[in-house]
Every structure is written in C-alpha cells, then in structure tokens.
C-alpha cells in the first residue's frame, strides 16, 4: 500500500441549502465524513442556480479533489460539467437527481414517481376507510413547477387517482415548496371549497403550511394532511406525523448514507468497482412507525 496516512479531499456540490431536505443531506454528509479522520469534506451551495452550480463544479475541478459528489440542480445543466470532472479522472457520484448522460461513476437515487404512486394509494386507502368507497375531494399543493420532483410526485398520484373517477383534485395551487406560501394559498382554497378530505402537499413544509391554514379556520379536523420528504429532527416531517399534524409522509431517502458508503470504498479500495446505479426505496411513515423511525 501507499503512504500510510493519505488525506482525502471530497467535494460536494449541493444544488441549494435552502430546502430542509437539502439541509438534512448536508448535515448527514458532514456527520458521516466527520467520522473519517482521513477525509476532508467541502460543501458548496448553488442557491438553486444552474450557472452558479456549473461554476462551482468548475472551481472544484481546478482543486483536483479525490472525489466529487454532485446533487444537480437540474439535469441538463450539469451534464457537461460533470463530464469534465470525469475527463479530469475525478470519480463522480451523482446524488438524487439524474443527468442526461451517464457522466458519473455512480448514481445514488430514490424515485419520486414511486412516491407519487405510494401517496396516491395511501390517500385512496384513507378515503375508502372514510366513505367505504374510493371517493372524495383532494387538494394538491404543488412545488416549483417544472422541477423533476414536482412533476413526478404529482404525476404518480394522478395516475392512481385516474383509476377512481369519484376522487377529484379540486384545487392544485402552486406554493413553490415554501411553507408560508402554502399557508396563504391553502387559505384561499379553504375559502372557495366547502368540502376537502385530503391535502397532498408535495413536500412536508407545504403540507404543514396547509395544516396551519386549516387550523386557523378551525377546519383541520375535517381533512387529512399528507406530505413527502419525511425528514428527521424537530422540524422534520416524521415529527409532524408523531404530533398528529400529518397523517402520513414518505421518507424520500436522503441517499447520503449510501453515497458516503460508496465514496469511502472508492477512495480507499482501488479494486472496488461501484454499481452504476443504486436505487433506494422510499418508506411510508404513519403514526404506527413514526416514533421508531424518529429515533434513528
């Protein structure tokens, strides 16, 4: 083997650190690498801006890291620059979001379409319980339009509802992933809609925003709130399920533990050949398993 104590430099280009999901990814990654004394981790934040992220990855390439992890802000934008990193012989792990060409050593991700399906099925099940038949009024609170997560979380659920003509999406306001906006948009929906059974927030903060709006009008008991993301911690969705705010959420896996695991293998074991793709299955969180998951 080579020099006994080689220091590894790992660069992580994060799409943004403003969403709780992204913040949780950063925190977990920092934590996991901190346990490895021979690895130095650096995180950059692209603030949801493609050009900024491309620039940041370029700057990383100049610094010749031993490994690069990229959570792309958008698919097309990062494809070329990640190719540059590969050309510079830097191993690249693509985190969570796909790019157009396989310009990565390994791709660790989950699946938003599956989450959409799972959410849809959970909602159908709840309505079935409530009315004895699959019918009812659903409000969808949408994230920033055009983003992959938004598209597939929406599409998955709609595909399920399409099978039940009596389940209607009666409103689908856009709240750009933001809790405060969701609260305002939900208030308007509540004014216009006398009867709502389920609110499906495409992320937890928006579902919580909708809950706050309904609670203020004294209508929070009338409907169920379903979110997505299922983050841990005080502010996360799992705690909200435990608190009874949300009926359910889906752990959209951070993918970070797997990514770090793969990364460490690549760094330390030159014979290691990672899979091209690791897919991590989402988990349904309800009051039944929330406490147990929260502990983890």
């Amino acid at each position: 083997s080579g020099p006994a104590k080689k220091q590894f430099f790992v660069a992580f280009s994060q799409a943004n650190n403003a969403e709780p999901y992204r913040a949780a990814q950063n925190e977990l990654m920092t934590q996991l690498f901190a346990r490895q004394p021979d690895v130095k981790l650096v995180i950059s934040d692209a603030q949801q801006d493609n050009s900024r992220q491309v620039a940041q990855v370029e700057t990383f390439i100049r610094q010749k890291p031993d490994l690069l992890i990229v959570a792309p802000n958008e698919r097309a934008a990062l494809t070329a620059v990640m190719g540059q990193a590969m050309d510079a012989k830097i191993p690249v792990i693509c985190l969570e979001r796909d790019i157009l060409q396989p310009n990565y050593t390994s791709y660790v991700h989950s699946d938003n379409l599956t989450i959409g399906h799972m959410a849809g099925e959970f909602i159908v099940e709840q309505l079935q319980k409530k009315y004895g038949a699959p019918r009812g009024n659903v409000v969808a609170i949408r994230g920033l339009l055009g983003v992959e997560g938004e598209i597939n979380r929406d599409k998955g659920a709609r595909e399920v509802f399409a099978k039940y003509p009596d389940i209607k999406i009666i409103a689908d306001p856009v709240a750009d992933w933001i809790q405060a906006k969701a609260k305002d948009r939900m208030t308007e929906v509540l004014r216009a809609q006398p009867k709502i059974d389920v609110v499906y927030g495409h992320n937890d903060p928006m579902a919580v925003g909708a809950y706050l709006a309904a609670r203020e009008l004294g209508r929070d008991k009338e409907m169920l709130f379903v979110g997505v993301d299922g983050l841990g911690g005080e502010a996360g969705g799992i705690k909200k399920v435990m608190d009874g705010v949300l009926a359910a959420t889906f752990v959209y896996p951070l993918c970070v533990d797997k990514a770090v695991d793969v990364a460490l293998h690549i760094l330390r074991d030159s014979s290691f050949r990672p899979e091209k793709e690791y897919r991590i299955i989402p988990t349904l969180v309800t009051s039944a398993n929330a406490a147990e998951l929260y502990g983890k």
């Binding site: 650190n17 403003a18 969403e19 709780p20 913040a23 950063n26 925190e27 339009l145 409103a171 306001p173 856009v174 809790q179 405060a180 609260k183 305002d184 948009r185 208030t187 308007e188 004014r191 216009a192 006398p194 903060p205 919580v208 925003g209 706050l212 203020e216 009008l217 911690g233 005080e234 502010a235 705690k239 608190d243 705010v245």
Partner: protein, 321 residues
C-alpha cells in the same frame, strides 16, 4: 390646512376602488349566493396576508422618501424569525418578551449599521443594502446552521408564543397600529419633515442645518426594526424560524411603496399611498387566486394590472425617474 400626506390620496383610491370592484364582479359565488370575495373571512385573510409586507413597506416609505432604498429587509426578516425561534425553543429565556426584544433589537441594529454606512460614507444605499442583504442572509443561515427551527404545537413557551402572535386580530392590529404610528410620524412630527426634506433636496437640507445624517441612520434603523417585527409575526404564523424566509420581500415592499405614488427619487410620497399600494397588490392576488387562474396566466394578468393601476393614479406632469 391641507396635509401633504393626503395629497396623493384620491387618485390612489381610484385605482384601488377599480380593482376592488373588479374583484367583486368576478368573484366566485358561494353556495348561499354570497360573493366569496366579500366574505368577512376572505377580506380579513387579505389583510392578514398583506400585513407583513405592509409593515415593512411603511418603513420602506421613509427610506425611499430620503432618496434611499433598502434591499436587506427580506434577509433581516429571516434573521428575526431565526432568532425568535432559537431563543424560544432553546431555553435561552423564559420570557416571550425577551425573545422578541432580542430579535427585534438585533434587526434594528442591522438597520442601524446600514444607516451609519450610508450616512457617513458616499456609498449608494443600493450597494450598502445589497451587501447587507447578502451578509445578513449568510448570518441568519450560519446562526441556525441552515436549519428551520420548528415551533411545535405543544404546551411550551414557543407554542404559547405562536398561539398568541399568529392570531389574525393581533397581526392585522399590529399593521393598523404601525400604519397609524408611521402616518403620524411622517405628517405630524418634525422628524417626518426632516425625512421629506432630506430626500427633496439634500443640499438644501444640509444648508438649512437639518440633521441629515441622523435622519438617515434613523430611517434605516426603523426599517430594520419593522422588518424584525414582521419576522416575529412570520415565526408565529409559520410555526418556525426560517433562515430562508423573506426572499424577494424587498421587491414586494418597494413595489407597494412605488405603486402607492412615492417617487423613487425621494422627497415626495405618503404613508396613505403606500397602504393603498399594499392593498392593491393584496386584492389583486386574492382576486386571481379566488378565480383559480392558472399561476402563469396570473403572472401575466398581474403585470398588466400593476401598470394600469399606476397609470390610473397618474395624471400627466412629473418626470419618470
């Protein structure tokens, strides 16, 4: 005696009245035949929704009257939400008042720093507050380690705070009180006159020996203070401290001020105008949302109506600076 603050009123009101009438006309009708737009609940929703921007835009009016601008209000609001939630949930204090005081004081301080740099250097307010918009956002995120700080629904201090300060009546009441205070400040006090004089003709103000510098320091301090207070309300309303809150609020606040007839070049404007401007934006959004307009089409319609609303309240004359 005619008060300057009233001067711009009638035409402003015309634009507002037009939009309100339109909103009533196209309002969806509830099952009982009443117009949803006119329901007390909906009307108070609008007031509650505009309160935060409304409060910030009051102080922004003063800043703009002096010929300045403050881009940092959104970041300062975020700092305030984070500080409020941190002090309440992390046991730093057992008093809601102390937590609020800490947050608001920190924000007033941030505003004062803006004001001091602007008053004592030659750097344009746009640059100074752009820098603090970036810097304060960084500070808020750094203090809270990029995390939202959740205020639960339990029985603790934080939950108690949220329950009180998210009340519609309290929020709207705060806005009303702040409006009255700032209207008085502008049109009835010597300070208000100094604010207008500074923006109207800074050289003349210096020649007249008016306290131009301290006036500037004060208006930015007030903006920091009100943004901080808006942040406290935000934290209560959203049950969380959020270092990413308030992005682009500066544009909303400035828009409300300018739609209300205040000139960005300073010297001319009114609090009543700003309130009307804020209401125009609020009613417009509510109207389009109530009618389930596609969010993209909503943006296009909004653009046209903003221009029309401002056009209505302008006669000819004045320059378009």
């Amino acid at each position: 005696m005619k008060l300057p603050a009233f001067a711009a009123l009638p035409k402003n009101f015309l634009a507002l009245a037009g939009i309100v009438l339109l909103a009533i006309a196209i309002s969806p009708v509830a099952a009982d035949g009443s117009r949803v737009f006119l329901e007390i609940g909906n009307l108070t929703d609008i007031l509650r929704q505009i309160s935060l921007i409304g409060i910030i835009s009051l102080a922004m009016t003063f800043v703009i009257l002096t010929g300045g601008i403050d881009l940092s209000v959104g970041s300062v609001l975020a700092l305030s939400t984070s500080l409020t939630a941190m002090w309440l949930t992390r046991g730093y204090t057992h008093s809601v008042a102390v937590a609020i005081l800490v947050a608001v004081a920190a924000c007033a301080l941030a505003g004062a720093v803006n004001g001091l740099v602007i008053a004592f250097t030659d750097i344009q307010p746009f640059i100074v507050t752009l820098a603090s918009m970036i810097g304060v956002r960084g500070l808020a995120k750094w203090l809270s380690s990029n995390q939202n700080i959740d205020i639960g629904f339990g029985q603790d201090l934080a939950a108690h705070f949220a329950a009180v300060f998210r009340q519609k009546a309290l929020v709207i009441g705060s806005y009303a009180a702040a409006s009255a205070a700032f209207w008085t400040l502008l049109s009835r006090t010597v300070f208000g006159r100094h604010v207008r004089a500074t923006g109207d003709n800074e050289r003349a103000a210096l020649h007249a020996g008016l306290p131009v510098r301290s006036t500037k320091v004060w208006v930015y301090t007030l903006t920091g203070l009100l943004s901080g207070f808006a942040g406290v309300l935000y934290a209560a309303e959203n049950h969380q401290g959020n270092p990413n809150a308030g992005v682009a609020y500066e544009l909303d606040a400035i828009a409300a001020v300018v739609i209300g007839g205040t000139r960005l070049s300073g010297g001319k404007g009114s609090i009543s105008g700003t309130i009307v401007g804020t209401l125009i934006m609020g009613v417009l959004t509510n109207m389009l949302r109530l009618n389930n307009v596609d969010s993209n089409v909503e943006m296009m319609i909004k653009a046209v109506i903003i221009v029309l609303a401002v056009a209505v309240q302008r006669g000819k004359g004045g320059n378009g600076a």
